[in-house]
Amino acid sequence: MFTILGIPGPLLFGQLLLGVINGAFYAMLSLGLAVIFGMLNIINFAHGALFMMGAFVSWMLLNYLGIGYFPSLILSPLIVGIFGLILERTIISRLYKLDHVYGLLLTFGLALVIEGLFRNAYGSSGMPYRIPEALQGATNLGFMFLPNYRGWVVLVAIIVCLATWAVIEKTFLGARLRAATENAPLVQAFGVDVPRLITLTYGGGIALAAFAGVLAAPIYSVNPNMGSNFINTVFAVVVIGGMGSIMGSIVTGFGLGVIEGLTKVFYPQASATVIFLVMVIVLLAMPRGLFGKAV
């Protein structure tokens, strides 16, 4: 067994892997929050609840309909995303003319309702979701054993993050979206249906959260609190990264996951608070966040 800085290698790499996985979820969730914030100017407090809903829908698909992991990787985000579209059309769209604070309060209430309903129906102890057979087992990388499913999560998360980045930065739809974020009335005057764009953005952001939920289901047990456990940390991630840049959200998410993982190795007592400490330092040094634009 080899050691690095007095820490056994497998332990170090194991925690590092956990950190990268947490970071993958931070990245996917803060990405959705940033895109939604850019278009709708609301902080979607219900993001964690909808992430949890993504995991639950995949659990329900498996246990009630016998639909397995891979189909539900598509189906669950689709179902929750459509739920998001309905939410935006029926409820959230009523708030655009009001102070932004109301959007936060409304989505906070929404999160309480969704979590409360799931807690009533399924309790809060959590239910296991089996890793699909194709991804069971582990691979020996020489310096550590990599559980296949965890490797898969990191790989898929990176692909999804980059794909989202590419859609927003490199496609025509993304160009319209960015233009509408800058100046919605002007883009509307050019004949772009901005309200529809807003609805699609919300639905897309929610689908991303639900997708993350499906990925998370086999790692963390499926339980009603899994979203709120994550979301407070994700808010700190968003403050650190600033919401101005898509790539910024991705890099910050993964980076903070790694920092958290390393803290677990070197100073475990601080592992729960390290991200918040980073936030404090960033606030002191660069109040706009690492990648933020003026707000």
Binding site: F37, I42, I43, I91, R94, L95, L98, H100, V101, Y102, L104, L105, L106, F108, G109, L110, A111, L112, V113, I114, E115, G116, L117, R119, N120, N232, T233, F235, A236, V238, V239, Q269, A272, T273, F276, L277, M279, V280, L283, L284, P287, V295
Partner: protein, 310 residues
């Protein structure tokens, strides 16, 4: 001279009369819970209602106030009023640090930063040895008021809680109607303009934040003495959500709104407690209804009907 209009004066007298008469009809412990949360909500309203700052981390001040009051009265054997004041001092000190960090950003970022900082305080309380972790600080004695009056009877401590609440309520009213309070309102309405008039808006915001967190700490400390326990619930972020709910439901920026909101939410929790998570669902639904259809809150709506500021 008092800064109350005639209608508001009638309201204050009616409220004090109700506080005096209520324990002969209702269970005093329930009333004390309402009064503690009412003070907490009034303190929160000082920020959101008059400075326009939405803090989503007020549980940190309430909870830490509660821990410090409980710990000091249990281990140092100090008198009740000193314990409560120490709770307030803790809230103020914590508010100074957290507020100093959070006012660097505005609007939604301010809300997210306060939430994240309060979450850090929560994790600290979860691990720090003096809070007792998951168990909390239990069997906290109520102590003696001024070292003379034992507070073991519910009715005796009720009067203490009532006085603490009314003093806090009047202090907030005094702050809001002072020249300082007028500047706070100017910042709420138009911060760049207040800056251009020569006011250091960040200093004003920070002072308001510290005052608010101090009162939240006092409310938490009082609650710890009443119930003889300080736990993680008081510092958890759902407590921050609850105080937002109380204030929103009662009416943001109204004098009596937070008190009414605290009464309704606490009563609702008492009656719905047996239905488990339905409390959460109901709270969430009230949030959504308030935001969508009822933004002035109960007291705000009544005031609008009567065309008076309440």
């Amino acid at each position: 001279m008092t800064g109350f209009s005639r209608v508001q004066m009638i309201g204050v007298i009616a409220m004090v009369a109700l506080i005096v008469l209520a324990p002969s009809v209702l269970y005093p412990v329930f009333l004390m819970k309402v009064l503690c949360f009412a003070l907490f909500a009034c303190a929160f309203n000082l920020l959101i209602g008059y400075v326009g700052l939405l803090s989503f981390g007020h549980a940190a001040f309430f909870g830490m106030g509660s821990y410090v009051s409980a710990w000091t009265i249990k281990h140092w054997g100090i008198t009740a009023e000193v314990a409560i004041l120490l709770g307030g001092a803790t809230g103020a000190a914590l508010g100074l640090v957290l507020g100093w960090l959070a006012i660097r950003r505005q609007g939604l970022y301010f809300a997210m930063i306060t939430l994240a900082l309060a979450q850090m305080v929560y994790f600290f309380c979860l691990q720090a040895p003096f809070t007792g972790g998951e168990d909390g600080i239990q069997q906290v004695p109520r102590g003696n008021l001024f070292g003379l009056v034992p507070l073991d009877s519910d009715m005796t401590i009720y009067w203490l809680v009532a006085v603490v609440f009314i003093a806090g309520f009047l202090l907030i009213h005094r702050i809001v109607h002072s020249p300082f309070g007028q500047i706070l309102k100017a910042i709420r309405e138009n911060e760049p303009r207040a800056t251009s008039l020569g006011y250091r808006t960040n200093d004003y915001k920070l002072i308001a934040f510290v005052l608010s967190s101090m009162l939240a700490g006092i409310a938490g400390g009082t609650k710890a003495l009443v119930f003889g326990i300080a736990t993680l619930t008081d510092v958890h972020y759902s407590m921050s959500g609850e105080v937002v709910l109380m204030t929103l439901l009662g009416g943001l920026g109204t004098i009596f709104g937070p008190v009414m909101g605290a009464l309704v939410v606490t009563a609702m929790e008492n009656y719905l407690a047996q239905f488990g998570a339905w409390v959460t669902v109901t709270q969430g639904a009230i949030f959504m209804i308030c935001v969508l259809a009822f933004r002035r809150g109960i007291i705000g709506e009544i005031g609008a009907k009567l065309k008076v500021a309440l």
